[in-house]
């Protein structure tokens, strides 16, 4: 039964990921809140689950010439090195502290996105008013 629940939650977060909206930041809270999976297990899961989809997506995008192959490694190599430090810190923290930091992180991302949306909405309205005056 758990298998089906996991599957359902993953489909939902996969839909967001497919829309390019960060499915991972969705999968982790759902799976820890609804299924009581440990925070570090959910984080490990999210990183590895991303790999096959990413490979398929990269192949498709590369064919459409949408990938900048010149500069990516300048970001990726230092990132790989430092990410190991991040992991070691995460597994040595208590699950509770990690959950609080993660919760704060996704809440802030959500708030920033809402603010960006509101600014966009206001700009659109101003533009419409100007058009109406003209």
């Amino acid at each position: 039964m758990d298998f089906l629940w996991y599957l359902l939650i993953a489909v939902l977060s996969g839909v967001f990921a497919g829309m390019g909206m960060g499915g991972g930041t969705f999968l982790i809270p759902l799976i820890t809140l609804l299924m009581n999976v440990e925070q570090n297990v959910a984080q490990c899961l999210n990183l590895l689950v991303f790999v096959p989809m990413a490979i398929i997506t990269i192949i498709i995008y590369a064919k459409q010439k949408l990938i900048d192959f010149k500069n990516w490694w300048i970001v990726s190599i230092p990132a790989c090195v430092v990410s190991t430090l991040g992991v070691l810190l995460a597994v040595n923290l208590s699950g509770k502290v990690l959950k609080i930091i993660f919760g704060g992180f996704i809440a802030i991302i959500g708030i920033v996105q809402i603010i960006v949306l509101i600014i966009k909405f206001i700009k659109q309205k101003k533009k419409n008013v100007k058009m109406a005056i003209k």
């Binding site: 977060s13 990921a17 490990c44 300048i74 991040g86 959500g110 708030i111 949306l117």
Partner: protein, 124 residues
């Protein structure tokens, strides 16, 4: 922008995104896209695509280290892997049919509530 400054910013970005993505197991792509657009003056579509390539090796490295540290659970991994692939394919189809702002709003509100619930549950 001078080439050396650009390289320096890209390395700094890598350090930051690498740490966050390793520490929280997510979020790297979201941070990357606006930053590489600013530094490399990229088109949004190219930035999205390139961000996936940047993130992929980071996910492999940090995912494997999590697993070595004992955070891997195959019983959870298998259904989630299958589900994510199905959902990912569905998502790319839905994307072209729905209005983007509404999805972003729903997504953001869900993230805020999930974040708050996580904090409250952890503190309580």
């Amino acid at each position: 922008m001078k080439k050396w400054l650009q390289v320096l910013l890209l390395i700094a970005l890598g350090v930051f995104v690498g740490f966050v993505n390793g520490f929280l197991g997510a979020g790297g792509g979201m941070l990357l896209v606006p930053c590489i657009i600013a530094i490399l003056k990229m088109d949004t579509k190219v930035a999205h695509a390139t961000a996936i390539l940047i993130i992929l090796p980071i996910c492999v490295v940090s995912g494997v280290i999590y697993a070595i540290q004992g955070s891997f659970d195959f019983e959870v991994f298998l259904p989630c892997l299958i589900g994510t692939v199905i959902g990912g394919v569905l998502g790319t189809f839905i994307l072209s049919k729905l209005k983007n702002d509404i999805i972003t709003a729903i997504f953001s509100l869900t993230m805020i509530s999930a974040g708050v619930i996580m904090i409250v549950k952890a503190v309580a």
